[in-house]
Symmetry: C2
Subunit: 421 residues, 2 copies
Amino acid sequence: MQRWKEEIVQIGQFGRGDSTPIDRREQLNVEKGQQRLEGTQAIKETKGYIISRMKEIGLDVRLDAVGNIFGRREGSKTQTGAVMSGSHLDSVLSGGMFDGIVGVVSALEALRIMNDEGFANERPIELAIFTGEEGSAFKKGLLGSSVLVGHIAVDDALALQNDEGRSLRAVLDQQELRGDFQIDFDEIEYFIETHVEQGPVLDQERTPIGIVENITGITWVTAIIEGEANHAGTTPMLSRKDALVASADVASFVNKRAIEMVREFGGSTVATVGKMVVHPGAPNIVPGKVELGIDIRDGDQDHLNKLTTEIIDFIKKMEGKYGVKCSTEIPIDHPPCPCASEVVTAIEKATRQMGIKAKRMNSGAGHDAQNIAEKVKTGMLFVPSINGISHSPMEWTEWEDIEKGIQVLSLTMKTLSQLSA
Amino acid sequence: MQRWKEEIVQIGQFGRGDSTPIDRREQLNVEKGQQRLEGTQAIKETKGYIISRMKEIGLDVRLDAVGNIFGRREGSKTQTGAVMSGSHLDSVLSGGMFDGIVGVVSALEALRIMNDEGFANERPIELAIFTGEEGSAFKKGLLGSSVLVGHIAVDDALALQNDEGRSLRAVLDQQELRGDFQIDFDEIEYFIETHVEQGPVLDQERTPIGIVENITGITWVTAIIEGEANHAGTTPMLSRKDALVASADVASFVNKRAIEMVREFGGSTVATVGKMVVHPGAPNIVPGKVELGIDIRDGDQDHLNKLTTEIIDFIKKMEGKYGVKCSTEIPIDHPPCPCASEVVTAIEKATRQMGIKAKRMNSGAGHDAQNIAEKVKTGMLFVPSINGISHSPMEWTEWEDIEKGIQVLSLTMKTLSQLSA
């Protein structure tokens, strides 16, 4: 078994607590998901294992104050900005064995390939593993990378508590995964994250490599629609203020307008009413209140703003139409993050050089890369997710696609590491 | 204070465990609802109080095997079928002080009026109090009356358990509310139940008395719509099987068709999607499954069937439109129950004779009367619910409307009691 495949399988076993399927036919019968939340025994084992693999190939391993892990291979031009690559090792509550892992293991393998080839990089290479990307344990996604770029103060991050009431500080100290290293982005030139697509596009188009041009912008709109809870038998149709009937209009509008925008602009617009909680929720009571959670994403800031505004305006219109009261909030609002054209071009050149089919695309999911992009030239490389399934025990990426991803990543890193500063 | 008002206030105090507002201005500030579930101390006190009031006016009080309470005033023609009137004393979990109570206290007051007037009824009069109408404690609505008409066997009813795991038998035995009387419907000619409307029609139209022509038919359709749960960011709009988007169409259709049918047939059609549970229910996940609970009511069986069929057909159509899978069930299906024209006419005649404004209407809620109607000639008398509010601490009916209800009931009972057998 290839060493990178062995690593993915071994980490899968840590995450599942028993054996992990190594081909997709086995995987189809798997019900038990990966559970590598920060603070668990599984993530401790996973990180310990990866750190020892990093040391084996001569990397200088350092941990920072929130448990981000870095592994440095020096370059011949020590003073130039490094090429950084990596991802995360933590999982959602019942996740798959590729999300995050593929990005860490691919970067590790790329470094081993350089060793094997006796490759002499000019720029230093930095392997990066970010703490708590999923936000499953400490309720804050992209945690480690958010601290790195200053979105969250170190002390605030360390004070976050998991469901057991333990702080990130306590968890990291107990697992001996906290250090005092501080990364300096002035000394980093590029960042590339390899990741599973988590969507169906590459699988549907039988394309092994996605080259990310934009990480999508995300706006969440939460709405509360208040009508009047009433007896479903005795309240005539025309005397009702039914919060669910108004919410149904909203859900239909959100879906219809996103489809129209995809058709009109050919872009990556998606919009979803994923949460709809109906109060009181009995069949024989006219719904008095509905809470809506709406997720809107677009790689284009203008389109994102346009759709968000249209949705909020539409919700407001329900007041006149149904006599309900509507309030909206925007709890999350991340702008789209364009990838650095220099990195996009380097990845694309690598795929051409190797004759591997690739496709420029947007990332519809958020990634640590969008934080790092605020500081250094950043790109992302996707490999297919079978049927687009992710955050699920059924998540699968074919081994040969991961192998192609490693080949493209390693060639891209080598190319970028030789650019003159 | 009138004796019937004193009784309603006293029962309100049992149900709330403290003082009860006696005018509506006080009531507007009340947050604590009535809790007179079968098996509670409050219902024990309430029944003990009413039984002693029944005995005070010379009624022969008997309890049956499931705790239904009967109080008989003999008539001069003992062999003729009796005129029965009554309702229930139990409440929902946090209910009001009029639902059920008004029907029991009105019948009691009507009997007192006969005493006061020295009225000599030919037919016997029977006061009836039905066990567990609300179904709050033992999860079976119209419990006592369902046993009376043979829908539920006595032993099955007694074996039902409340949330504390206690059986109806244990609860009734402990409260000494179980007897061995058996009502014989061959000896009953008429039944009239006075009740609060629990809807807004009488209040809106400033009409103190509703004469029920039909107790509505009720059909429940439960539906499960299954799509595919997916990442809301990475799943393109046109690759989705969104169970919530399909469910929104259903909710809009149910509402729109019920309104159209009211306009087309001028009837009492109502249809409500009161329950919609979305799985997994996070804003950033395309909904994979939605459970719907739909309540459809109509006083006309053909219209009820028509709308039910249309809704089930519409749900089925979602499969082709959205690629989801839909299944439906009909867990509840009660036909409409027409009231006896003889009783309807007697009530109407009483309102005319007294110069009290009245309106023929349907009952949109279910009542014990619909069970009793299977055995004897049955009618119902409604008094207004302010703003249509019921099953709520805010439930209110003006005292003068209750008084008018008592006057109409008592005159109707007197009239019916004098009809030759």
